[in-house]
Symmetry: C2
């Protein structure tokens, strides 16, 4: 069994927030931030729930953090031993990311000897509502020990408090917290049961917003006292009586016991890694970082339902409103498609099921079809506001256009559905609303097309492309190409639909007419062409902007936190871009450009890119691979793979926490490894590989699933082996 460990020795107050992300665990239903048991809300602990949201007043709408049943603190001889308040003599935090088990070990020195706490916890891989903890106390002396452990319903909220009503109660051996949300009155129920391995006195205390077992004992020298606890979370989105369900499930799991649960956990993850692991010989750093990225992705994979997607910060908290962005389809999807198509299906089913929200948004703007939410929550509600950035100079909210102008989002949905269909060979998504989704997205772009009077060319004006530093531009190449792709897809769908499908949709869609119309749209839509020097202009007029280095632009900042984009940001009137834009287009449609053009654009745009988004690096890495320059790709690959290990991203916007994990970067690292360095191309039912391994990589091995078959691919400098296992 492999030993995949992230270990941090010593305690640093500065790392509290970062470690909350780095030592995270989750199972798709919940994400548990890697904080310590004694932390209260100021240190951002969270049992973050997938797909359930709340809004209070004018605050941002955001996902819920469930009452926290890991909460535990100890008191020895009448004194509290908790971090960060009481300095520890030894401290270590560990993540076993092969099995999703988080551990801590802390020793405090007291006047009479040492007190050590060792804990481990995990979100149960196969029981999505369950998480488990073991908490061990050791003292080097006979001490009066008190442990408070139970449920802390005074959760960390960014724009809360989200619970209007909190009920704390006992039910037999269990304690229970029921919390009712502000906006829709949803109930989140958390049940907990714990057992102690040593003679003790117990009572249950209810303090404000906390229900706690108060466990007292006299410790014996060097003898461990173990507390094992199981918690279960249910909400009214899962069942009508979540308290009952939580109690029932926690009792069953507790009967099974912590040890059995942990065994299940390890076995399930081992089973998963059998086909998900990517092995790299010769580059331990890359292998660890990459598989850690896959751990991050797997921890947030919605395996417990059939229709749910992933927020841009995974399940690491309420940041980015827990909302689903284009990140899922464009950056994370490939990992799920290649390792577990059923999860990929769930992600896309969410889009199909939120079509009506997208139609409503389009209507609200006076467009037709489906305009997907830039920041999608349940039902396709767009959580993006018109004022997403605060002006650091005036403190005023700035009008931003992410919501209304970033129209490329709908094409990402189409792209996702088609990739699912092509990679799996399964057309069930198309039949279950996918076709309608695609047609509505095509109708959306169709309704936005402009043509200069008396010409035959269609254009798309007043958009924001992937590079958000340039607002309200015309003919963003990426956006136009993706709209064209949407038209092409719609035509293909209409032309190739089976008779049954045609009959089903023909009431709502005049098939022949639309096929003709969208074909015309695709044919006429303008795409920027390579200029004399081979460079494709990102949008109309881009190359007339000031051509200046990223460093020069940075040197113009008057305030370290000022926004680079918007109408007057330091980058806005220069050629400096936030992230890969033309390069993203070229990654997606590389076959439409010559190698020379790809190279020239890569070399033109890279020095002009700030990489101010974690979505940027992997696109450069991928295009460098496509251009046969893996050594240039490598640092971008590593940056993506280490996004959540290294920290250093933007963590705070003023007083609002915007950190969290970066699953899109993780997905980008996977794409780079498999499709970039690995050179995998899936087409017409065939797997072909054209490796571009970095110098140090002696061997690369991974599995992919393609059209219901499992392939093991092994690449070395000299050989390639594609083996169909099933």
């Amino acid at each position: 069994m492999k030993d995949w460990i992230i270990r941090e020795k010593g305690f640093s107050k500065e790392h509290i927030t970062l470690n909350g992300n780095k030592f995270i665990c989750g199972n798709g239903y919940m994400g548990i931030r890697g904080t310590l048991e004694e932390y209260e809300k100021e240190h951002l602990p969270a049992v973050n729930l997938a797909g359930i949201y709340d809004k209070v007043g004018d605050g941002w709408r955001e996902p819920l953090n469930a009452p926290n049943a890991l909460y535990t603190r100890i008191r020895v001889d009448g004194r509290d031993y908790i971090l960060p308040e009481v300095e520890a003599s030894k401290h270590e935090q560990v993540l076993d990311y092969r099995h999703g088990i988080v551990k801590r070990s802390t020793t405090w020195k007291t006047g009479r000897g040492e007190v050590t706490v060792i804990s481990e916890h995990f979100a149960h891989y196969t029981c999505p509502h369950i998480y488990c903890m073991q908490y061990t106390i050791q003292t080097t002396f006979h001490a009066e020990v008190e442990v408070y452990t139970g449920i802390d319903a005074d959760v960390w909220d960014i724009h809360g408090p989200h619970y209007d009503e909190i009920t704390l109660s006992e039910s037999g051996e269990c304690i229970l917290a029921g919390a009712v949300t502000h906006e829709k009155g949803e109930t989140v129920a958390v049940a907990e049961q714990c057992g102690v391995s040593f003679f003790n006195e117990q009572r249950v205390d209810v303090q404000e917003k906390k229900i706690l077992h108060h466990i007292s004992f006299i410790s014996e020298k060097e003898k461990e006292v173990k507390i094992e606890k199981i918690a279960a979370v249910y909400t009214t989105q899962d069942v009508t009586a979540p308290e009952k369900a939580a109690l029932e499930e926690v009792r069953n799991a507790f009967k099974k016991g912590y040890g059995a649960c942990k065994k299940e956990q390890i076995e399930a993850w081992e089973e998963h890694w059998k086909t998900a692991e990517v092995e790299i010989e010769g580059d331990k750093e890359a292998m660890e970082a990459l598989n850690y990225s896959l751990y991050q992705l797997q921890s947030i994979a919605p395996r417990h339902v059939e229709s749910l997607s992933i927020g841009a910060r995974g399940l690491s908290g309420q940041t980015y409103k827990g909302a689903v962005f284009w990140d899922t389809e464009m950056f994370m999807l490939e990992y799920f498609l290649y390792t577990q198509p059923e999860t990929a299906r769930t992600l896309l089913k969410y889009r199909i099921d939120t079509l009506s929200g997208a139609q409503e948004k389009a209507r609200a703007y006076g467009h037709k079809g489906a305009f997907y939410a830039w920041e999608s929550q349940e039902g396709g509600y767009d959580a993006c506001t018109d004022y997403n950035v605060t002006d650091v100079f005036t403190g005023r909210p700035m009008r931003t256009y992410f919501k209304d102008k970033q129209i490329h989002i709908s094409s990402a949905v189409v792209y996702g559905i088609m990739r699912y269909t092509n990679v799996t060979g399964d057309d069930s998504l198309l039949k279950e609303g996918g076709i309608e989704t695609i047609l509505e997205c095509a109708a959306f772009y169709d309704s936005l097309l402009l043509q200069k009077a008396h010409t035959q060319v269609y254009e798309l004006h007043d958009v924001i492309g992937p590079d958000e530093y340039h607002e309200r531009v015309n003919n963003n190449g990426y956006t136009n190409r993706m709209a064209k792709f949407t038209f092409e897809t719609a035509v293909k769908i209409l032309r190739e639909a089976e008779e049954e499908t045609l009959q089903r949709i023909s009431n709502a869609y005049p098939v022949e007419e639309l096929a003709k119309r969208y074909q015309e749209d695709a044919d006429r839509l303008y795409l920027p062409q390579p200029e004399k020097d081979g460079v494709v202009e990102q949008f109309d007029g881009y190359r007339k902007l000031e051509d200046v280095s990223v460093d020069t632009v940075r040197s113009r900042l008057l305030h370290e936190k000022e926004y680079w984009g918007g109408a007057y940001g330091v980058a806005a009137h220069t050629q400096v871009i936030k992230q890969a834009d033309v390069v993203t287009w070229m990654v997606m449609f590389a076959e439409e450009f010559s190698q020379e053009i790809l190279q020239k654009n890569l070399d033109y745009y890279e020095p002009r890119t700030e990489h101010g988004s974690s979505l940027s690096a992997c696109m450069y890495a991928l295009l460098f691979c496509k251009c046969g320059r893996p050594e240039c790709a490598y640092p971008f690959f590593l940056k993506s793979a280490k996004a959540d290990l290294a920290g250093g991203g933007k963590e705070w916007a003023g007083s609002v926490y915007i950190g969290g994990t970066h699953p899109a970067a993780a997905g980008g690292a996977y794409m780079t490894a498999v499709s970039g360095f690995g050179g995998v191309v899936l087409k017409d039912g065939k797997v072909t590989v054209n490796p571009k391994l970095p110098e140090s990589w002696k061997k690369l091995r991974f599995h992919i699933r393609y059209q219901n078959k499992l392939y093991q691919i092994t690449e070395t400098k000299d050989s390639v082996n594609v083996e169909c296992l099933q």
Copy 2:
């Protein structure tokens, strides 16, 4: 002979700049700011020249101030007596605005008695290069008096210094300053000759950038000493040898003498007022303010050339770059058309002659046809920059879109040419390039038309309308209607052209095809329609903006000088507008709306208008008149008429002077009096009047010229008399 006097008693340092505008005189060739003779550049004296510009470094391009030959200062018993440094015991400044003569009288108390200086000066009405001054010194005691008088070439510049080279010399009785500009090496020559009425000693001193007669005498008690001086200005834009011309002209005028020149001045202005004066019985305040406005307009009327226009701040300095805006055609033109069509012709000839500049601008933006300069200088050069406003919070220049998005400017040119043609009945302008100008403007709009694919409706996107607080909007009603007007005009021109014209233009313009095309453009161009409540939306989405009062918006200012518009200004995302916009459209095309719609829009938009432009009030006044509500119009009329009397407009933008006179407001006051209250309509060769006199106006009398006839129109409450005099 009527006595039209503006008089200010007492000296106030705070009024120095304001009085520079209020007591201005001019003759179209030059404007002489109403400053005192002893002022040097820090008090903004200027002999501002029409139509000649210079640019230094990155500074704004701006018109020239000629070396100042009014410069005079006195010293008595070895002590200087100058304002504002030495406090005066009596001071008065007077403008005889019937004759364009500016006077001052100042008495200082000395230890030995009083010293009084009395002066008057004027820009010669019929000799455009000449200005004249009489300067009288009286003392109540025998004193040693020294007078320094001559030419101060150390002129006030906003973005100068504009003279790289200054040559100061004597030539016989005259002194001469020759100054060579930085950008194009143009020479500005100023010659001066002066005579003294009393025995004196004289020598000529050249100090740095000044050449001065140093005149010394012992004054006699109560006996005046008179200095009379004549100055002439010529530039290399007038003649190839401007020094020679200036000397020759100054000598001739000096021979004639100050008294004779003054007599000519008075007679010429009297002759002018015979048909230009507007008489109002029963409202002296209105009559004076209105005729003062006409004085302002007449002082800047370019009567000395055949092709020149008027800057938005007249000839009151270098503010607004001395540039020509839509102000001329839309606000000032009517005055000139109705009183002196030949001057109106000169204004429009300037536009025709700068067509190539407009074509160049259109090409630079990738458009076709003629895109006139937003801030037009000689040759149609657009002096407008992309960064016209400074962010008060960051000190950074803000990207503004006046130059590239205020496309309605070209339609103003078309409108001007057609008004000239219709009012005068003279089609010579059309024949001398007017037709081509109109066709090029139509080609411009044609090249901007967008249509939503698969629809037949044309739109204009991404513009700024008259209301500059809302940038980059779609389908601004005013702009669309004016573009439509341009198409309609082009069609009319093409359909009605004479055979000779058709032959002339048919090489460049496919007449039939264009007529058809522009007819289609006009027919298809979208115009916002009245909504359920009768309100016409200013642009797409305007009425979805926050609906909040002007005062509320003002209360949100964090800095008194911050810009209300731009991307994030306090007005930008509200319905508060800078100036009449839909209302301007309705004034121009009132016949296309019902009275009810006019009323409803007036009442909707007026409370939402900040009137942050001096162009705003008169449009409201005109529409109130059209709606039969002269009492509501009256305060707006008075505000326009008093724009340069009352002061209080925006005078400074940071450290840059942006004050000056407001000829568009003056023209707006004229329009309101004649077309608004007076109710004059000129159509099909007939003058009709439909008076809407304010309550207090017992009689309104004025003349207008229409199709080569002069009409005297007299209106009272009970009667209307239209008399054709010629």
